[in-house]
Symmetry: C2
Subunit: 696 residues, 2 copies
């Protein structure tokens, strides 16, 4: 592979700077390289010279016979800068800095780290760390991470990328504990130079890796991270991510409604989803999704689950219902074939209980699996039983697991075996799994079923949203502060968003004349870009009869001037009242570093109280918007539940896409745009109010 | 112990009926009894006589030197009845019937089972099964279940009671896999006689059991089961239950709203909660909650979590936020003491990262734990780290785990250690755990934190709701069919439930006269117990101006007669219209076998669309009702969010309790009562409509 991080992550020659028999890091790295079987060139460097780990120690990187691909720096923090100067001067282009004591320690450390960064930039070096535990490239048999003793590190296609060194160790220990095969594990530490985005980008092209498990505390460069994730998706690799820090996500105050609805974490959720990232909320799920995908790859089709326990079938049915995971009916052909195989009292449905008859006939489970895997509606088969226990302890179980594994290997449909619940792995079970080639996934049905569901969704949604053709806009005012409805109306018009008619008038008398142009009643609103919450200062009057318009408008002007004497009032906006409908809130917030995110939900008091909001990273097309609407709890109201008129869904999604495109066309100065309410009544979709907030 | 099931579940003498060297069941039961060290009297019985398992075989139970406490029957299904006749005639009072081929096989099997049941009733026998895998009473060293080979069955205080034999084995395997100590495990099979309720009742009094884990497919006798659970709670034992079959729960149609809101499964949820049962949705959670409680007992106070990884702190903080689990702030005294212990860069908050300094000072973790456990706000301490890995693989880790275990044992605050993620148990780790007495709970923080949260809630809520003083009612019509608002109004009055004023009148002219008694506008509804959905047939007119009442009332009578010519119309109900407020739906459904369950939520279209409903088993008092209201997503509306007037919560809960008490006073013929809407506006709480449905 030829990636800009190849030298860093696939070095053929390595200098261990700070090597010493007295350093436990040095000892452990040497052990790790030995255990993994590193077959490149290895040099030890220490200004003191002598020998370490039974090998000659060079006094400087300059003394080495070749310029190594990479320097692994594990000297005390105060010695890092001199050591790195030596490394850089020798022409080494890649380094891992294990040493801590930098930005993570506060202001002073941050200054030293900046000096280090400057040195590396000057010399064009790629650096992992500082304060990084390094990495293990299992496929390349390179261990530049002192991985702790314990179970064997099995080679496989799951890559781990984590900002936390401790979490990397937890994940590696869990993987080894449950026999999950790894291709790569890295801790990015302080991310002075190389960050998660760079690593994911590398792994997206790494031949040994089929799935990338990411633990993130923060994203240094969100758009680079998302781009790397999309590159992984394009290479048919799944990125699964545990992003922490949800509970500290600050709600933003850009606009009353959209701001509180688009929390920081929800924004991240929407962008990760759009980039094809499966987000999970535990380290176990992170590894189970990765392990499952490493066995299945993309899953195109329904899930069939086989077991030999009625109780497990019940558990699976409930779990599937909770997840919204459909267990498709088997075709009559499949049912017929199963009928011929299974005992009379068995029922050939999905999930399938092959019954205890599998104890008497060890081939039964595998034979049933073979039939189900051929069903045209089935895209993945999960065999859930006490596989490890049976293979280890009972003769029929061993035969059954062997047969199951053979059938799974020969099947064109991805097929995995899973213990019904999470289960300890005895040394004997590890052996049996290797010997029989058991396609076992860890985690039990309770974690594997959600993983399968996520993989199905990922497979279905892994298309790129086409770039949008954006409207051309003319701004009638400078893009600063807050624009209220009257100022925003031309924007909506240019974007093709239908609005309730509205006339801006300077006086109460002209308001009355304007209101005479339509049937009763009328809405009157104060026009002022200085007033965002008009109703709080008496600046909104709804349902005013035509006879009362002039008096009511006059009173409003007095009230508002009394309440906010400094606000610049441009006049009154007069509109006809509209019949009731379903009121939606459609807002877009621009999240610096990420992009624009759309929030859509019920408007009015329901938006905030019921928190029934869906979010979409932009750009998004009509199908994404429709899916978001269908995910709302209030969706039945749009469909016409409880006596409401069904909406024209095509028209509604078109209007929402236009609002989204408008937000994109408003450029980088935008903070937020909010249409609230967007009134929907059958085929009529109209913005009744709108505001734009600029970041400047 | 002296329980009516003592002879069945703690026998001192057992006859194995059907014993034979050729029967694998017989062989496995004998092995299991041998492994567990059964020290009571054991007799083998088989009509063929001879020897089996190296021991004499008696031809009949009559030939035994004593009447055994229990017969374990494992003959072919056709031979069960004759064998049981022999057993019964010999005066044996308890039997376990392993054999299958009864009710679970359909009609024919059901008939044989009924014959068997009759035999047992006649002889006053207690029978477990048929189609039961039997039980293991670990504390009494009695294994009447062929438990499969594998890890050691460790003695502890977790009891397992399951209807599914296969699930019992899964749970036992999981417990053995993760070193969870068991007191008891039973499969109740077909529950011809002894059912889950009986077993829980026994375990509630079993000295060796501190927590009861139940797997249920259906409850034969719900009220007996709930009573047994309450008995367990009274003995400070937690019952944790996985009840499957949620996805098949049929919504009931008794009343349009309440019926669809009170699904079968939600009813079970409410009743289990009221009886102190913690409900979970996976076998893993079932065992983790049980294992945790076995270590902690009731937990009265906040959770403190210690770890040595910042990443784990972030994960824990997010998880706690999702669960609504509060990690209380530590007191200044605790913070001060920790400050003296921990390195300068550590921050003394909860969750607490003791930092990597714990590697250099093996006592640090335990010392920090000791300080935190003394904090007055802390009721439980969880130490989350790589305990098993560290104890097995590194010297400081072993010292640290030993010290942690000593500190935990000496602490007055329940303290558990948990691997950060679920982890495999090597044989060496098992040894270390025994040697050091490590209070380790399995499952990782992702399962243990929810378990702790559930145990905290159980501890807080484990009071009995006081029996209610019910109103005395006079029914003015026979309790059959459906009663509409006019018929129900006297009931509400007798129960002290405030209603909007209403007058029933026979004619449109009298409607107009009644409406003259209050300000505009008026509501008119048709009065007919034959019409439940009045608005569907034009039987409701709202907001009618006084001038229009007579004409509108006359039209209603015509419209309804045209739509439903056979409906008996008693007249018109005329009421004043009320100002808008928050509309609640308050309904009660009587669930045969379980009791009455209250549903409360937003009324109108929101009830069904948003599914924002809470359910409470009755009786319930004001504090239970208040807690239910606070659990509604719409709760902020009642508190006065978004400009609504805050409700008088005391008055509202009082009215809801009165509706609940009314439903109880209506007795066993009630199917449902529904107040919809109950309009709430500040201090005003009024029923605007009500209906009662009777079961006959």
């Amino acid at each position: 592979m030829n990636h800009r991080l190849s030298g860093l992550l696939e070095p053929r020659s390595v200098a261990l700077v700070g090597a010493s028999d007295r350093s436990s890091w040095s000892t452990r790295i040497n052990e790790a390289l030995d255990v993994i079987g590193f077959d490149g060139q290895l040099f030890l460097v220490n200004p003191k010279g002598g020998t370490a780990h039974g090998t000659e120690v060079h006094r400087s990187v300059h003394d080495l016979p070749v310029v190594p691909d990479l320097a692994y720096v594990m000297v005390p923090s105060a010695a890092v800068l001199p050591a790195m100067r030596d490394v850089a001067a020798a022409g080494v282009k890649n380094a891992v800095v294990l040493s801590s004591g930098f930005a993570e320690m506060g202001e002073e450390g941050r200054a030293v780290q900046e000096e280090l960064a400057e040195l590396c930039r000057t010399h064009g070096m790629s650096v992992l760390g500082p304060n990084s535990l390094g990495y293990v490239n299992i496929a390349a048999r390179t261990a530049l991470k002192p991985f702790p003793p314990g179970e064997e590190l099995r080679s496989g296609s799951v890559a781990i990328a984590s900002q936390s060194g401790n979490v990397t160790i937890q994940l590696m220990n869990m993987a080894r504990s449950f026999d999950v095969g790894l291709s790569f594990a890295v801790s990015t530490g302080n991310e002075m130079d190389v960050n998660l985005a760079d690593v994911v980008d590398f792994l997206a092209q790494d031949a040994a890796t089929s799935v990338i498990a990411v633990f993130a505390e923060t994203f240094q460069d969100p758009s680079a991270f998302l781009a790397a994730c999309r590159r992984a998706r394009d290479a048919d690799k799944l990125v699964v991510c545990l992003k922490v820090g949800r509970s500290e996500a600050a709600a933003r105050a850009a606009l009353a409604h959209t701001g509180s609805l688009v929390g920081n974490d929800a924004v991240i959720d929407a962008f990760l989803r759009a980039a094809g990232v499966v987000r999970v909320s535990s380290l176990e799920d992170l590894l189970v999704v990765a392990d499952t995908f490493a066995h299945t790859g993309p899953v195109d089709g329904g899930l069939a689950l086989l077991t030999l326990s009625g109780g497990t079938c019940d558990i699976v049915a409930d779990l599937a219902e909770d997840l919204g995971l459909v267990l498709p009916d088997l075709t009559p052909g499949t049912v017929g074939e199963l009928g011929a195989l299974l005992p009379d009292f068995a029922v050939a449905h999905n999930p399938l209980d092959v019954t205890g008859a599998a104890v008497a006939d060890a081939m039964l489970f595998g034979n049933a699996l073979e039939v189900v895997a051929r069903d045209p509606g089935i895209g993945i088969v999960v065999a859930a039983q006490e596989i490890d226990h049976q293979a280890e302890n009972v003769a029929w179980g061993r035969d059954a697991v062997r047969h199951l594994s053979e059938v799974a290997a020969a099947s064109g449909t991805p097929t995995i075996l899973v213990n019904t619940t999470v289960r300890h792995l005895s040394p004997r079970v590890r052996e049996i799994r290797r010997e029989l080639g058991v396609p076992a996934v860890f985690g039990g049905v309770d974690r594997v079923l959600p993983a399968v569901h996520a993989i199905q969704g990922w497979t279905r949604d892994r298309h790129e949203v086409a770039p949008r053709h954006l409207p051309t806009l003319t701004l009638e005012a400078p893009p600063t502060g807050t624009w209220s409805e009257a100022t925003c109306r031309p924007l909506l018009e240019q974007a093709g968003v239908p609005m309730v008619p509205g006339v801006v008038v300077p006086t109460a008398a002209e308001a009355a004349r304007a209101a005479a142009g339509w049937d009763d009643p009328t809405a009157i609103k104060i026009v002022s870009d200085d007033i965002l919450h008009k109703s709080d200062v008496g600046g909104v009057a709804l349902g005013v009869a035509s006879a009362d318009v002039e008096e009511r408008a006059a009173r409003m002007l007095v009230d508002v001037r009394a309440a906010l004497p400094d606000a610049a009032v441009q006049g009154l906006l007069v509109s006809p009242m509209r019949p009731d409908g379903v009121d939606l809130l459609v807002g877009v917030v621009r999240e610096p570093g990420w992009g624009n995110v759309l929030a859509v939900g019920l408007g009015g008091i329901w938006a905030e109280v019921m928190q029934d909001v869906q979010r979409l990273a932009l750009p998004a097309g009509p199908s994404e918007v429709e899916q978001a609407l269908r995910r709302l709890r209030a969706w039945p109201l749009l469909e016409g539940a409880r006596g409401t008129e069904p909406v024209d869904l095509g028209h509604l999604t078109d209007v929402i896409v236009r609002i989204a495109d408008l937000s994109l066309a408003l450029g980088e100065d935008l903070a937020a745009v909010e249409v609230n309410p967007l009134r929907v009544r059958g085929g009529v979709v109209e913005a009744l109010d709108v505001a734009v907030v600029w970041s400047a």
